[in-house]
């Protein structure tokens, strides 16, 4: 069930109505039923997969929680009889047992994700190797359909069990309540990857009907549709023309970098706005996933502002545990002894960074383009880190150049935007050599510059002049609205001003109806992040 279908709108309407009609203590069951309907509507065969994740992580979390309680009880009972060393040894032994349960359930769940998502990619790579070595055999590649939202719910569930293991969140006793946390329908398609400690209390609280939640939710949903249907889908026409057309290189590649940035921003942040808005209708405030990413002055800052919940998942559950693990500690010591303190300290951390980014790329999709995308991001971050002393010297020499203000600030933001946009086109072409060739052509196919000056870059790609005018105006509106959201979200501000809220919502509806890319025979494009 896509966000851009009437059945989705009907589901929200029915769920909101029922939610506020029922007594508070059972309101969460409406959310669970809506989630099951939403998920089943995508294909009934998906359900066993998400059920397997729910059941296995629930059982394991309960087991870990009980083991931890028993260990604590034992220590408090025998504190007097045990020495500090004995207590440490006992704690370590118990932690090891809990860790074994954790590892087993993680292997199982990431195993399901790996089989469903990466079997085809892996076998195709094996076949490529066999063919390269002249073997006349090929391994049959099964056509596996990816269960809806598997990357998102697997991360949500595994994050939960790691938090239970770390004692950061309570293990949920009721499996149906836990099932709601994993499958909460606004989060299924594209996140955010919410943490149990933040989301669960809101899911089960039985929130009261409050006008500001409904008005803020409606505005945010419309704002999301505006970004998705009116901006992203309009810009997508030009992007598709460049990708599928012949000879669209040089300036067209630069056009692609800019326009695909508009597409992915409108598509993903718009989708998340709809998600946030739907959750808000039930009185639930989800963690923000974006904080004006295109204003970032550096790659590191960009990744702190774009898809924040995914970034923090990888940092908290992969990068840190890997970086501070015993093998990494041993590697650090070995590197320091052999290579000196400077390189020795950096090498293991840099290795962990690259592994994290490699897996971040792989999480986005089973393809070489995603892997290369991840690795390039990792390399850019590490190179930036290596250049930090140089930047420091530069800023010491030119203290008036402030990265946060003035022309230099704008320069830094544009530089980061173009850098990230250039890496992102790996996602457009889905083909690594073609992406590099296209990007490289910007620097030698100067003949395409004439298409920029005579205007054919505008007319060649199926997007009308007025659509570009609309895109420019709409982008400016988004820029100014998000700029004013530093302290408070636009939906919250507007919910306190009924007249302005009504005008803004009516305007958004008109713009979506008039400029949106839809109509008879046009099925609005799926959200890009749905495929992840």
């Amino acid at each position: 069930m896509s966000y851009t279908t009437w059945s989705f709108v009907a589901l929200i309407f029915a769920a909101v109505l029922l939610y506020y009609l029922l007594p508070k203590r059972i309101r969460w069951t409406v959310l669970l039923c809506a989630s099951v309907i939403f998920y089943a509507a995508g294909g009934g065969w998906y359900l066993p997969f998400i059920a397997a994740t729910v059941i296995t992580t629930h059982i394991a979390a309960r087991a870990i929680s009980k083991m931890a309680s028993r260990a604590e009880e034992y220590i408090s009972l025998h504190r007097e009889d045990m020495s500090k060393e004995e207590r440490k040894a006992y704690k370590a032994k118990e932690k090891g047992r809990r860790c074994a349960v954790l590892v087993a359930v993680l292997v199982l769940n990431f195993g399901i994700l790996a089989v469903m998502k990466y079997t085809g990619f892996t076998l195709n790579a094996v076949n490529g190797l066999l063919s390269a070595f002249g073997r006349g055999v090929t391994v049959p590649v099964p056509d596996l359909l990816l269960p809806l939202g598997i990357s998102f719910y697997t991360f949500r569930a595994t994050g939960y069990i790691i938090d239970v293991y770390r004692g950061k969140t309570e293990a949920e006793k009721n499996i149906f309540r836990y099932a709601l946390f994993v499958s909460f329908f606004p989060l299924v398609l594209q996140g955010p990857i919410s943490r149990h400690s933040k989301l669960a209390p809101q899911l089960f609280e039985g929130n009261s009907l409050r006008r500001e939640n409904i008005t803020a939710g409606i505005f945010r949903i419309l704002w999301g549709y505006f970004k998705k249907v009116a901006i992203a889908d309009t810009a997508l026409v030009g992007v598709r023309a460049v990708i599928s057309g012949e000879g669209f290189t040089g300036m067209y590649a630069l056009y692609l970098i800019i326009m695909y940035s508009v597409v992915i921003y409108g598509d993903f942040t718009g989708g998340i706005d709809i998600t946030m808005g739907v959750a808000r209708l039930f009185g639930i405030r989800l963690e923000e996933n974006f904080k004006r990413p295109f204003s970032s002055r550096s790659t590191q800052e960009y990744w702190n502002r774009w898809h924040i919940t995914m970034g923090s998942w990888f940092t908290d559950y992969l990068f840190y545990p890997m970086s501070v693990s015993k093998p990494m500690g041993r590697l650090t010591k070995r590197c320091r002894t052999r290579l000196g303190k400077g390189i020795g300290m950096r090498l293991p951390v840099y290795l962990a960074t690259l592994i994290t980014w490699y897996l971040t790329g792989l999480w986005h999709g089973a393809g070489w383009n995603f892997i290369v995308w991840g690795l390039i991001n990792g390399v850019i971050i590490l190179v930036s880190r290596e250049l930090e002393p140089l930047y420091a010297k530069f800023h010491k020499k030119f203290p008036s150049l402030d990265t946060q203000k003035g022309a230099y600030g704008v320069f830094c933001a544009v530089r980061t935007f173009l850098l990230m946009g250039s890496v992102r086109i790996l996602d457009c072409y889905g083909d690594v050599p073609r992406t590099f060739a296209s990007f490289g052509s910007i620097f030698y196919r100067f003949d395409t510059w004439k298409d920029l000056f005579n205007g054919s870059i505008i007319t060649n790609l199926g997007v009308g002049v007025w659509q570009y005018v609309f895109l420019a105006a709409a982008t400016l509106v988004v820029f100014f609205v998000t700029r004013r959201e530093r302290d408070e979200l636009a939906c919250d501000k507007l919910s306190r001003k009924p007249v302005l809220w009504a005008v803004a919502c009516t305007a958004l509806i008109f713009v979506i109806v008039i400029f949106g890319s839809y109509g008879i025979g046009f099925d609005s494009n799926q959200f890009i992040y749905n495929q992840f």
Partner: protein
């Protein structure tokens, strides 16, 4: 504590670690810095900071970090 500030100074010598209480919040310490600090602490104090203790509140100031070291050493 002095030894800890020495470690922190090696990363960013322009910060007043006795006063600053927003090292993570203000982006002074990034994830790479944090791992470098943890490695140094392990080396010099023989205290291993586990991943679950890597929280902004534990790294926001030299004082908070020192308290974490003392707690883990206990």
């Amino acid at each position: 504590m002095e030894q800890l500030i020495e470690i922190l100074k090696e990363l960013h010598d322009d910060v007043d670690y006795n006063e600053c209480e927003t090292l993570v919040e203000d982006g002074i310490l990034n994830s790479l810095d944090i791992v470098a600090i943890i490695t140094e602490i392990d080396d010099r104090f023989d205290v291993r900071i586990p991943a679950e203790e890597i929280l902004p509140e534990n790294f926001n100031s030299a004082k908070a970090l020192w308290e974490l070291i003392e707690r883990l050493d206990d």
